[in-house]
């Protein structure tokens, strides 16, 4: 496949939209001394999505690992230094060619598996795979396989549903720049590192700082495209400082910092609906056994902190207050999903693995709602086929796609986000109306979600 439009073009496409068109109003949070506008209370009913980008290319084959059968034989042949012993794996079940097990560094996620709250979709990729981190991550974030425009798939969702007054509807956490996924053509999300990095440093001179901040926010009147983009951000910076005043999030380290920040925002009545968390280091070209284990352990602790509020059984403290479980009202409306720009090659390269193609995605949902409630429910278990691995004599070089990732995006939009109990129906993305075995009429992945 020829892809003529580059990564830079994608980013540029996003950046050329004039600042004035991109307003996502963050207004004053209720209850603050500055406040006036309030977020519509109905937004508390929204279904929520936390998406985790494992940046660098997660080794899918050492995350959902061949455990027995013909695929295990090939695995043992080509994984010389990065092989995970079969008896350490957490069993997931049978696939074509054997069985697979979960990497042992993911005990919390395995707990959700055992509670029938986790789905594993195998062989996720897109047609015409690209092996560049940056090109492939852009494709995952836009959902555009033949890139023709620079909007992200969640940004287009925000375009369709809109962002109401005072809302922080889409947020990226800990990436230093707004993820492409959250850039729409009309509106966009916000990017923050933590709720502790949104405040001004020049406090303490009350009347003066207030005057300075007011004029700073008023730079939004700048007339020219780049000036105006900057000026618009001045106003947003001031408003974000107000909107996040007093918010706290425990920061025990690693991806848990971002997941607990996500939790704070999801529960803060800011209308937060989609959260994009990025965590790096997955480009394991060398020293993979040690590094990959640490990365997955960190991911698992982040998920544990998000849902359970504990780490290794020890309460995480926010100040001196332990962080408890995710409040039930939020938990029953929240889906966590992981992806990575690509998996890695079937065989290792010495102590690591080079860039590969298809890999599994994880989705973790709430406990099943009451039968007959009509609410959306994630179908737990293994979905789709395990990619072919060749034979011991002729191992495959790469794992080929068995699931077009666009079908998962479409399912999340039209089944999960649009659940009848939420106030935000989304008809889905025209770009994702793909066809093929196992994809529904709108392109969504058949059976990923059901109705209770």
């Amino acid at each position: 496949m020829t892809r003529t439009i580059s990564r830079r073009q994608v980013l540029r496409g996003a950046a050329t939209v004039a600042g004035a068109q991109l307003l996502s109003p963050i207004v004053f949070r209720a209850g603050t001394a500055w406040g006036d506008a309030q977020v519509d209370p109905a937004t508390a009913n929204r279904m929520r999505l936390v998406i985790i980008d494992l940046i660098g290319g997660n080794d899918g084959l050492n995350t959902v690992v061949p455990m027995s059968g013909a695929i295990r034989d090939v695995y043992e042949k080509v994984r010389v230094t990065t092989e995970l012993p079969a008896d350490t794996l957490l069993p997931l079940g049978a696939v074509d060619g054997g069985t697979v097990g979960l990497n042992p560094n993911l005990p919390t996620m395995y707990g959700f598996w055992q509670q029938n709250r986790m789905a594993v979709v195998q062989g996720c990729d897109y047609p015409g795979h690209d092996y560049s981190h940056f090109v492939s991550d852009d494709i995952w974030q836009t959902g555009f396989v033949n890139q023709t425009t620079g909007s992200g798939w969640l940004g287009r969702h925000l375009d369709r549903v809109g962002i109401g007054e005072g809302e922080l509807r889409g947020v990226g956490i800990g990436l230093d720049r707004l993820p492409l996924a959250l850039r729409g053509t009309q509106v966009r999300g916000e990017e923050i590192n933590s709720v502790y990095e949104t405040q001004f440093t020049d406090g303490g001179e009350f009347g003066v700082t207030q005057r300075r901040h007011a004029e700073f926010a008023a730079f939004s009147a700048a007339p020219y495209p780049v000036d105006a983009y900057y000026g618009d951000m001045c106003r947003r910076a001031r408003d974000l400082a107000i909107a996040t005043t007093g918010l706290t999030a425990a920061q025990p380290g690693g991806v848990a910092n971002q997941m607990l920040t996500a939790r704070t925002l999801l529960t803060a009545n800011l209308g937060t609906e989609v959260v994009f968390v990025g965590t790096g280091g997955y480009d394991t070209h060398d020293n993979q056994l040690v590094n990959h284990a640490n990365l997955l352990r960190d991911l698992d602790r982040g998920i544990e902190a998000f849902f359970h509020g504990t780490r290794d059984g020890v309460p995480i403290l926010n100040g001196s207050t332990p962080v408890g479980p995710l409040p039930q009202a939020i938990a029953e409306k929240t889906l966590v999903m992981t992806f990575s720009e690509f998996g890695r090659r079937i065989g290792d390269n010495g102590t690591g693995t080079d860039h590969g193609a298809a890999a599994p995605m994880f989705l973790i949902g709430p406990p099943a709602p009451p039968a007959g409630s009509g609410r959306v429910v994630l179908t737990p278990g293994l979905h789709r086929d395990h990619p072919a691995m060749g034979s011991v004599l002729a191992p495959a070089d790469n794992l080929e796609m068995t699931t077009d990732m666009r079908s998962i995006y479409q399912s999340v939009l039209t089944n999960w986000i649009s659940d009848a109990s939420g106030p935000s129906p989304d008809e889905g993305d025209d770009e994702f109306r793909i066809s093929g075995p196992g994809y529904g009429s709108d392109g969504s992945l058949t059976g990923l979600f059901g109705v209770a």
Partner: protein, 469 residues
Amino acid sequence: MGEGRALATPATREDVARLFGRAAFGATKNDLDVWTGKDYALVVDALFPPATPVPLPLTDENARITGESETFNVTPSQKWWLERMRSTPWPLLERMTLFWHSHFATAYTGAPDVGHVMKQNNTLRTHALGDFRKMLHALTVDGAMIFWLSGFQNRRGAINENHARELFELFTMGTMPQTYTENDIRQAAKALSGWVVNANRVGVFDTNRHDRSVKTVFGADVGGYPAADPREATEYQEICNLALLQHTTARYVAYKMVCSFAYVPDTTDLVNDPDPLVDAVANALRPSWTDPGGVWDITKAMKTLLNHNAFRYSQRGTGNVLVRSPIELIVHLGRILGASLNNNNAQTHWMPLFGLQRMGQTPFRPPNVAGWPMGTDWLTAPAVQGRYNIGDLMAKVWASQGLTTAAATILPASGDVPAWISFMGLGKLTPETQQRINAYLANPGTGDEPTKQRSMLILLAASPDWQVM
């Protein structure tokens, strides 16, 4: 005069402000006074050091490397470099070194100690305005780079593609569009095999780790030499040279220069539709096609860029266009205030690096192998708040160095807006910013003159005019 080159006209105050603001960590009032009215091309020439490398009357780099050996404490090196940027007589050389640091982005965390990236920093500076071919060769076997991109693990029988891919994607040809194949990467990786790093943090070739097969890259054969043939040790140069022969390389490097020093071009198809400034800079950078081994003259490319009408006049009709990077802002404030960025004051020594972290640019710690953002990608709401904070932080740094006693002579009176424009290194203010400054002065929230002066510094440093040039 070549096509697109500015006519021999006197530099206006705005010309000087823009040129220094984009290429020399910002102008001071003195710079504006000295250079305004001089021939524009002469002002450009004056930014270039007389020879490369230039000995500088600053901290000895070798002592710095030794000092940072066997440690992960990068802070002294970061502060040292920031202060060098601020106090050097040749800011363009440091600005270029910073540009190449983002191009060949390497983080100190990838190597066993900070000395590796300090050594790389020297190498980048040595070639920063020299021959891109020599720089590419040096960086390909640079100690910090060999660790950063897994080269030390790339050996016969265990070929590691990490470095070869980024050599093509990020350092030479780019993906605008991609003009190489996966097979080119795999073959080039073999040619790069065998390099390790010795105790002096220098890349060394180990023939026993080298893949001796014939590699076919862009249709040309490389290597296949008998065991221990000395030509094995320069196969990496052949790969670099082949990449330099690809027609996308000069345009890709020029594109990054234009993004860093002028504007982010609208057109990004480097093959069929290059931006005119990108094309001009690329033509100046690469040698003639009849001289395939010739010099890739970075100085010539930069002079072309800085003299070009598209650089000098790109603001017409569209306002200012270049979002300055955080390091440029901090260093510019240090220059304006005469405040050291390598200070040891217990209260303020951390503030410049803290300011940089909030804005998203920590020296020797680029976010990933592709380096720092460009253009409006810098601008998230918290990062722009970080850009507001630096006026306050640097005022505190300045005050802590006992410089406030001279405040009356250094900082203009709060109400003297024309003096403030010069003090900040600007040629003018847009009417919109002027309006905000006037609004502040009409209702400053205090009657205290030093506080009003500090507010002027904070607001002007946070203004679109100063942040975007």
